[in-house]
């Protein structure tokens, strides 16, 4: 295949990844790497580099809209970014010495967990317990808009959240994904933030986290313009259109289709990693 054929095909695939990712709320990152490696036979390192770039694009694009709606907790976001970005640097460091077969297996497991998690019921895990001392000291508690006006919430288990975020940052760098699932789990289940606050704050952090490792990868030569550019444009176009047709109600069927796609990709990545074909 020539570059002239490769670029539009990759852009088209990335478009659908961005569209589905935005419609299901799962993000497109988890399918970009399998698409590039399995369908287009791109080396895993180039795929991870291109995927991270698309993650920054969608996260920044969406965060621009979300921050204004008043859900994002900027203080929690910045505190946790200290952990996600240090995790990302450690992940980028590890990526340089980890065999691609191991990365492929890790990716497969992450994809399967993503699919499993997408089938779990969503909802708030709020608590009336007093705030964690760090949350009090750093004034992390805030309010969020509900149908009955602004409602306050109290932030719990800050050290636990920081620890999980470090792991989320490392995984994001190693696999070229946004890692939104772990971030949301840490805030929603761990720190007991309202679900909508968790998802928007996670998105707020994803761009910064991916930027930390993308910078390292750019310097290491993982980012090839012939791959990264069409992926970035495709995902952006897909995410923008997805956000337009997203009329609040998320389609359950679409979510299942996307989860099935992620499962297939995950199994394939596991298989390639185990058989050493990656």
């Amino acid at each position: 295949m020539t570059l002239l054929a490769f670029a539009p095909l990759v852009a088209l695939g990335a478009f659908f990844a961005g569209l589905l990712g935005s419609l299901t709320g799962l993000g497109g990152g988890i399918v970009i790497v399998p698409m590039l490696t399995l369908l287009f036979h791109v080396d895993l390192r180039y795929a991870i580099g291109a995927s991270l770039i698309s993650v920054i694009a969608t996260s920044s694009g969406a965060a621009a809209a979300f921050v204004r709606e008043g859900f994002t907790n900027v203080r929690v976001g910045i505190l946790l970014e200290v952990a996600t970005t240090s995790g990302a640097l450690v992940g980028a460091l590890l990526a340089g010495v980890t065999p691609t077969t191991t990365l492929s297996i890790l990716f497969g497991l992450a994809a399967l967990f993503t699919a499993y998690n997408s089938m779990q019921p969503l909802g708030d895990h709020l608590t009336d317990a007093p705030s964690h001392p760090w949350a009090k000291r750093l004034r992390l508690d805030s309010t969020y808009p509900t149908d009955e006006g602004l409602k306050p919430y109290r932030v719990q288990r800050v050290p636990f959240g920081l620890t999980l975020m470090f792991g989320a940052g490392a995984l994001s760098a190693l696999l070229g994904i946004g890692g939104g699932i772990i971030k949301v789990l840490a805030m929603d289940r761990g720190m007991r933030l309202p679900f909508k606050v968790s998802t928007t704050t996670s998105n707020f952090m994803i761009g910064v986290t991916a930027s930390a490792s993308a910078g390292v990868y750019l310097r290491r030569g993982y980012i090839n313009p012939g791959i990264a550019a069409p992926v970035m444009l495709g995902v952006l176009a897909g995410a923008l259109i997805g956000a337009r047709i997203l009329t609040r109600a998320r389609s359950e069927t679409l979510r299942k289709v996307f989860a099935a796609l992620v499962v297939i990709a995950g199994i394939e990545m596991l298989y390639k990693g185990i058989t050493g074909a990656m």
Binding site: L3, A7, D43, V67, V74, E81, S211, G221, M232
Partner: protein, 135 residues
């Protein structure tokens, strides 16, 4: 208004509407600039390299001119299509970094020392990887 059992928490930095609007504008501008650079450069890139085989099976790593920040900028100024695309990618990577810098300034204005420090730490971590290329 609020839940009866909880007293309202102290308003925090996240409640600042003007700041949020500015952050939103910055993020959008960064993404649009990056996208525009790539859209403009990609036809020239394909016109020049389109006939080459898209063989990315083996990892070779980019050459120095597409890896080094100042080299990318120099190439983009020469209107080299690959360098302009890479510059677009660089603008995208820099967008969240600019966002962190903006938040740092906002906390500085509010004299919120803990968060000035936290933003500064994040900013340093982000710049370490991009500038040194060695961690």
């Amino acid at each position: 208004m609020s839940a009866p059992q909880l007293p309202p928490p102290v308003p925090n930095a996240g409640d600042d509407d003007a700041m949020d609007a500015l952050v939103g504008r910055l993020l959008r501008a960064g993404v649009l600039t990056a996208g525009a650079l790539v859209v403009v450069a990609i036809p020239f890139f394909l016109a020049r390299y389109g006939v080459l085989p898209a063989d990315f099976r083996v990892f070779r790593g980019e050459t120095h001119n597409l890896r080094d920040v100042s080299e990318i900028m120099r190439g983009a100024l020469r209107l080299d299509s690959a360098a302009v695309m890479q510059f677009g990618v660089l603008v995208l990577i820099a967008t969240p970094i600019a966002r962190v810098a903006l938040t740092l300034v906002a906390f500085l204005v509010r004299k919120d020392r803990a968060f000035v420090l936290l933003s500064a730490v994040v900013l340093v971590i982000l710049l370490v990887g991009l500038v040194s290329g060695r961690i």
